[in-house]
C-alpha cells in the first residue's frame, strides 16, 4: 500500500492532538471544572470558545452545501455531500464540547422539559435540535444513492449501508430527481435555520448588558465571519481530500461510482433532467501538466 509521507505527517499531528484532547476530557470527567476554577468575572473558558468555533463551522458548511442543493450551483456539485457531512460532524463536536462545559451534564434534558423562553440559551438549544434533525435528513437524501450502491458490497460495510438505506433500492433518474427536490425543500428550510441558530449564538452574547464588550446589536452579525470560516473549512476539506488522495474529488463515496451510473453527483454522470439550472462543468483542481 502506497502511503504518502504527507499522510503520515498529518496523521501523526492528528494523533498527537487527539491524545492531548483525550487527556483534557479525562481531566474534565475526573475532576470536573476544578482545573479551570471559573470565577465571577470569567465564567466561561476554552470549552465555550471551542463550541462557538465549531458552531460557526457547522453553519458555514451547511450554507456551502445549500449553494448546491438550493441554489443549484452545479460547479460545486462534488463538495455538496462533503459540506453536509462537515456540517453534521462539526455540529456534533460543538454539542459534545458544550455538553461537557455544563456543571451538571446529566441534567441537560431539563432544557427540553422546563425551558424558559426569555433565555437565548433555551432558544439556541431548540434551534440546534431542529437543525440537527434537518441536517440528518438532508444528509440521508443526499447520500441515499450511494448507500443503495454500496449495500451490494459484502461484509460489514454492505450490512451497514443496507441498514442505513432503510430498504430503499430505487436509484432511477426519476427517483434521484425526486431526492433532489426533497433536498431543495429541506435546504430552503435550513438556510434561515442555520442563520437563525448562529445569529442566536451571537444574540446570546449580545443581550448580556453586564458585559460592555458583548452588549451590542452588532454581535449577532459576527456570525458572518464564522460562516466564512465554515465555507473555508469545507473548501479545505475538499482540497485536503485531493491532496491526500491525489484525485480530483473530495473522497466522497458517490464520486467513486463508475462513470455512467445514473446519479447526479457521480463523476461523469449527466445531471438528471430538470435538476439544476447551470450546466455541469468539470472541476479542475490540479494544474494541467506543462
Amino acid at each position: 500500500m502506497n502511503v504518502r509521507p504527507l499522510t503520515v505527517a498529518l496523521g501523526a499531528v492528528w494523533a498527537l492532538a487527539f491524545a492531548a484532547g483525550l487527556c483534557g476530557v479525562a481531566q474534565r470527567l475526573a475532576l470536573g471544572h476544578e482545573a479551570a476554577n471559573y470565577g465571577s468575572y470569567i465564567p466561561w473558558g476554552l470549552w465555550v470558545a471551542q463550541y462557538i468555533y465549531f458552531v460557526g463551522l457547522s453553519a458555514g458548511a451547511f450554507l456551502l452545501s445549500s449553494l448546491v442543493y438550493v441554489f443549484g450551483v452545479r460547479r460545486l456539485e462534488r463538495i455538496g455531500k462533503l459540506a453536509l457531512w462537515t456540517a453534521l460532524v462539526t455540529l456534533l463536536c460543538a454539542l459534545l464540547v458544550i455538553w461537557l462545559d455544563l456543571g451538571h451534564p446529566l441534567h441537560f434534558w431539563k432544557v427540553y422539559t422546563n425551558p424558559q423562553p426569555t433565555s437565548m440559551m433555551a432558544w439556541m438549544v431548540w434551534l440546534y435540535t431542529a437543525y440537527f434533525l434537518l441536517v440528518l435528513a438532508e444528509l440521508w437524501f443526499a447520500t441515499r444513492a450511494d448507500l443503495v450502491v454500496w449495500s451490494n458490497r459484502p461484509g460489514l460495510l454492505g450490512a451497514l449501508t443496507r441498514a442505513l438505506a432503510f430498504g430503499t433500492h430505487d436509484i432511477s433518474p426519476r427517483t434521484l430527481a425526486c431526492d433532489r427536490q426533497v433536498l431543495r425543500v429541506l435546504g430552503t428550510l435550513g438556510v434561515p435555520l442555520a442563520i437563525a441558530f448562529h445569529g442566536g449564538v451571537g444574540a446570546l452574547f449580545g443581550v448580556v448588558g453586564a458585559r460592555p464588550y458583548w452588549n451590542s446589536s452588532l454581535y449577532p452579525t459576527y456570525s458572518v465571519s464564522d460562516v466564512g470560516a465554515g465555507i473555508r473549512w469545507g473548501t479545505a476539506d475538499f482540497c485536503g481530500g485531493v491532496l491526500l488522495d491525489g484525485r480530483t474529488h473530495g473522497g466522497v463515496p458517490g464520486d467513486r461510482l463508475p462513470a455512467g451510473t445514473p446519479y447526479p453527483g457521480a463523476a461523469g454522470a449527466r445531471p438528471a433532467a430538470g435538476v439544476g439550472r447551470i450546466q455541469h462543468q468539470p472541476v479542475r483542481v490540479h494544474p494541467s501538466p506543462r
Binding site: S40, Q116, M120, V208, A210, W214
Partner: protein, 172 residues
C-alpha cells in the same frame, strides 16, 4: 438631577417589585428566581451549571462551585480540614460538598442566610461584623432601621446607570 434621597423614597414605594434582575431571564431552565420577599434563590436540582447567569450579573454576585476546597492549593495544609467538610445549609436543605454532588457544579450566591432568617436571626455577616458596618432589614416597613438609613444623603448604590435598582445600599 435627583438627589439620592428622593430617588430612594420613590423606589422604596414600589419596594422589591421594581428590582430588575438580569440573571433570572437568561436562565435556560428557570432554575433561579426571586422569592416573594425579594431574595433571589437558586434551585440546585434544576440548575444545569451553564453559568449564563454569572455572565449576566453586573455585580459579580454569583459564583460557580467547581468543587475545590480552600486547602486545595494552600501549602502546609496537605489534607482537607474538618471544617471544610461540614455540610452547608442553603435554602433550608443540607448539601454535602465532599460527595461531589450539588452544589458542586452549580451556581451559588449569597442568599442572606435564609436558614437563619427563617429562624428569626440576622445574616451571619451582620452578626459577626466586628465594625458593625452592615445592616439588614425590610424596606417595606417604613419604620425599620434600614428604611431610615437609605434616606440619608450619603447613600449610594452600585451601577445605577444599568437601571437594575439594586437593594444593597452603601453608606459612605
Amino acid at each position: 438631577m435627583n438627589t439620592p434621597m428622593s430617588r430612594d423614597v420613590s423606589s422604596r414605594a414600589h419596594a422589591w417589585s421594581v428590582t430588575v434582575l438580569l440573571c433570572v431571564p437568561v436562565c435556560p431552565v428557570g432554575a433561579t428566581y426571586k422569592r416573594p420577599d425579594g431574595i433571589v434563590e437558586i434551585n440546585c436540582e434544576q440548575c444545569i451549571g451553564c453559568r449564563y447567569c454569572i455572565t449576566a450579573c453586573p455585580y459579580a454576585a454569583r459564583v460557580f462551585d467547581s468543587g475545590d476546597f480552600y486547602t486545595f492549593y494552600t501549602a502546609h495544609t496537605p489534607k482537607l480540614q474538618p471544617y471544610e467538610t461540614l455540610p452547608t445549609y442553603e435554602y433550608g436543605k443540607v448539601f454535602n460538598r465532599p460527595a461531589g454532588k450539588s452544589p458542586v457544579g452549580n451556581v451559588r450566591k449569597c442568599h442572606f442566610c435564609l436558614h437563619r432568617l427563617n429562624n428569626g436571626m440576622l445574616p451571619e455577616c451582620v452578626t459577626s461584623c466586628v465594625g458593625v458596618a452592615t445592616y439588614f432589614g425590610g424596606l417595606n416597613d417604613p419604620d425599620s432601621l434600614v428604611s431610615e438609613l437609605v434616606t440619608k444623603p450619603n447613600v449610594h448604590r452600585l451601577k445605577e446607570e444599568l437601571g437594575t435598582k439594586p437593594r444593597v445600599y452603601y453608606l459612605l
